[in-house]
């Protein structure tokens, strides 16, 4: 498997403690920035009803689905209880020269 680092956005495109949507080759991702400037990426759709998580609220390291309040820890992808029970897939992220890169399997 070849690991691809994809240039997703500028570091400043995401506000602190927030999330944006990133689409790449038919896949959708959610990219997060924590209050202390750490960056993370997960699959973009909630595992419950395929709603874009980027519309949801970030609190600490939790992303809450905007539709049904399903919660995930975006640093690990762990689902935090009903109505969600399937974990989110996570992707490695690095920041170089103020650009955010997501590692997507090719």
């Amino acid at each position: 498997m070849i690991a691809n680092w994809i240039d997703a956005c500028a570091a400043g495109d995401i506000e602190n403690e927030d999330v944006i949507r990133f689409d790449h080759e038919g896949q959708t991702f959610a990219i997060y920035r924590t209050e202390d400037d750490r960056y993370f990426a997960t699959a973009g759709l909630c595992t419950h009803e395929a709603v874009h998580l980027s519309s949801g609220l970030v609190m600490g390291t939790i992303i809450e689905c905007p539709k049904h309040n399903g919660r995930f820890d975006f640093t690990s992808g762990k689902a935090k209880g009903a109505p969600v029970c399937v974990d989110l897939r996570t992707f490695p992220v690095k920041v170089e020269d103020d650009r955010v890169y997501v590692q997507i399997d090719a």
Partner: protein
């Protein structure tokens, strides 16, 4: 009850979202005794909200209906009796009689009996289809063909969602509402206006300020007559005129009933061994100054189910989440948290020409509710922040609330 008494029997009447969540929550909290869920439907617990939306527009099928909890019944050894009605409850004997002749004994009982669609009590009212169960939805779905004339009675959430779904399916839709606007029970007029305009743009016709007098079966279809003397031809008539709590079992057993099975803030009924939760329960709400409320919403069904389960196992968790609901109509999303009618002043925050948030403040400037309409990605974060502010009984600066470029989340740090 404690988790150590592994010999006990907890019975849950009702296998909807609430009953299902409660059953799984009992296991999650370590309950080792027996758990039996008795339901009148044949499906495992499923999410009803999709019935009027994704299911009617053929985006989802019954095969994928089961919710997260339903998949755990087997592994967690939760017994699910399907397709059976509970005929009576003998509180003194701690037993239930089922329609098929079986008797079940309980140590603790949870009533999660839900609600039933209210039917129009007019001549021919039985010809109006109602939407509550997956069977109801299937029945409606088979009739929504392109070009069909659909008359909807009631401009509330169900009526509007079905109107949108029927329109998407190519039907010609007319909605009759007794009041002079849609959503009069649950959303402010500014939001109702945006929702109505969106429906009109899609071709939905509205007839306001009149009720339906009768439905007649003609050889070539149905004839709907309004109280104002208007007549409409229809292939399908669907009524969305509210729901009534299923309280007959509780009432016959002598439990206190007040627009739903009465419970205290711990979801306990007038019989300490019996709890009630979800659409059937009228509960005292600590966040709303002890107002007695019966909530018909997906989220409260789940949360009350879970909290009732925890209390059955000896915890004392108050029922304390704010009322919250959402609706989807075309690409518009509606979200309301708290009770807008309890606010005196409304602050508007326009996020785009058709995305509006209303903040409802009481006489002391405290945020008591928020309501929004628009695309999900525009409104969802702000509604969630509003919910947290309401729970904190915050008094946010109205000028900041009204300013769409101000990041609302900043108020949480204050």
């Amino acid at each position: 009850m404690t988790n150590e008494t592994a010999t006990g029997q907890i019975i849950i009447v009702g296998a909807g979202e609430c009953g299902g969540r409660a059953a799984v929550a009992l296991r999650e909290r370590g309950w080792k005794g027996k758990v039996t869920v008795v339901g009148e439907e044949t499906l495992p617990p499923y999410e009803r909200p999709q019935l009027s939306k994704g299911f009617l527009t053929k985006k989802v099928e019954t095969s994928t209906f089961g919710n997260a909890d339903s998949t755990k019944f087997g592994p967690l050894e939760i017994e699910h009796l399907v397709n059976v009605k509970v005929e009576s409850l003998d509180r003194a004997a701690h037993s239930l009689s089922l329609a098929d002749g079986r008797h079940l004994s309980y140590d603790r009982l949870l009533l999660a009996t839900g609600a039933s669609a209210r039917r129009p009590s007019i001549p021919g009212g039985e010809m109006a289809l109602c939407l509550r169960t997956s069977a109801d939805a299937e029945n409606i779905r088979t009739r929504l063909h392109p070009g069909r004339k659909v008359v909807i009675i009631g401009g509330g959430l169900i009526g509007l969602e079905v109107a949108a779904s029927a329109t998407i399916q190519g039907c010609s839709v007319t909605l009759i509402e007794r009041n002079d606007k849609v959503l009069s029970r649950c959303a402010p007029i500014s939001i109702a206006g945006i929702v109505e305009a969106r429906h009109r743009a899609e071709g939905v016709r509205f007839i306001f300020g009149t009720g339906v007098k009768s439905i007649e079966d003609r050889t070539d279809g149905l004839l709907v007559s309004t109280t104002a003397g208007l007549t409409l031809d229809a292939d399908v008539v669907i009524a969305g005129i509210g729901a009534l709590p299923n309280v007959a079992l509780a009432k016959a057993a002598g439990l206190a009933v007040d627009n739903g099975i009465s419970t205290n803030e711990f979801l306990q009924t007038s019989d300490p061994d019996i709890y009630a939760a979800g659409d059937c329960a009228s509960t005292v709400h600590p966040l709303l100054d002890g107002v007695r409320l019966r909530l018909e919403s997906w989220r409260s069904a789940l949360e009350q189910g879970e909290r009732a389960a925890r209390n059955i196992l000896g915890e004392d968790v108050r029922q304390g989440t704010l009322p919250w609901f959402w609706s989807d109509q075309f690409e518009l999303c509606l979200q309301v948290v708290g009770l807008p009618q309890t606010g005196g002043t409304t602050i508007e925050r326009w996020l785009s020409p058709d995305a509006l948030l209303n903040f409802h403040l009481d006489g002391e400037g405290r945020l008591v509710a928020a309501s929004a309409v628009g695309q999900l990605n525009l409104i969802a974060k702000d509604i969630r922040v509003a919910e947290m502010l309401i729970a904190r009984r915050a008094r946010p600066d109205p000028r900041l609330l009204a300013e769409p470029t101000y990041r609302l989340k900043t108020l949480l740090a204050a």
